[in-house]
Symmetry: C2
């Protein structure tokens, strides 16, 4: 399951992507239109700025804006920052790999083999979709 944080983060990015190029959007506006708790959203946007997706401007007329073109922002990158690993088990994660304590060998693990397939199919979908693709409506 996707956390609320990730869901809100994607919705916020999508909202920002729809604005006229470079125009900053306030947290308050996103919070209002997307029905997201403003304080919670603040922390999410801050994280997205620190990880290089957003730029910010303080004071009146300030807000957050995209640093890169929506076409250049893959959903894999967004989800990895907000949610963490895309894989369903750490032992098949490309970016957050961790060995299983209970498994003797990954080659003979039934879960491992299955989850590699799931990971690859998910990765394909999220890799093909950019912010531009999902921020159309």
């Amino acid at each position: 399951m996707l956390s609320k944080k990730t869901k809100y983060g994607i919705k916020a990015l999508s909202f920002i992507a729809k604005q006229p190029e470079g125009k900053p959007v306030q947290t308050a506006e996103i919070s209002r239109t997307q029905n997201i708790s403003q304080k919670f959203l603040e922390s999410i946007l801050l994280e997205l700025r620190k990880s290089g997706f957003l730029g910010s401007k303080k004071g009146k007329g300030g807000g957050y804006y995209l640093i890169k073109e929506p076409e250049e922002i893959k959903m894999t990158a967004v989800i990895r920052i907000l949610e963490g690993p895309i894989a369903m088990v750490p032992c098949v994660s490309l970016n957050y790999y961790e060995k299983c304590r209970d498994c003797v060998s990954e080659e003979t693990c039934s879960v491992h083999a299955l989850m590699i397939q799931v990971r690859d199919s998910t990765l394909k979908v999220l890799g093909e979709n950019t912010l531009a693709d999902i921020a159309v409506k």
Copy 2:
């Protein structure tokens, strides 16, 4: 992320599937060979029995055995019982649908459209794989 419960459940089913047809396997044996806490595993196998995947026999020589052929057990079914929804958001779940509180309309939601794609690709993989497929080694 897959819960330990689901992971252990799949490993256990896979272990049982490799036994000579109909031969009961004890919780203790699975626990030992798969490095799973026995008490925790007990509760998982009990759940799998109650949901119609396993049969059981008490007393010496007892244990759990598959009720259906491994080829007939789709991984979608297993995961839905142990983990719950396969979808990453309730609003795209086929079996556990729930409407979002924050979304005005699903048609215009960027997360919704993306997560339908993820769901379908995951569903394809898990629907094509049966217990027979993953319990080969």
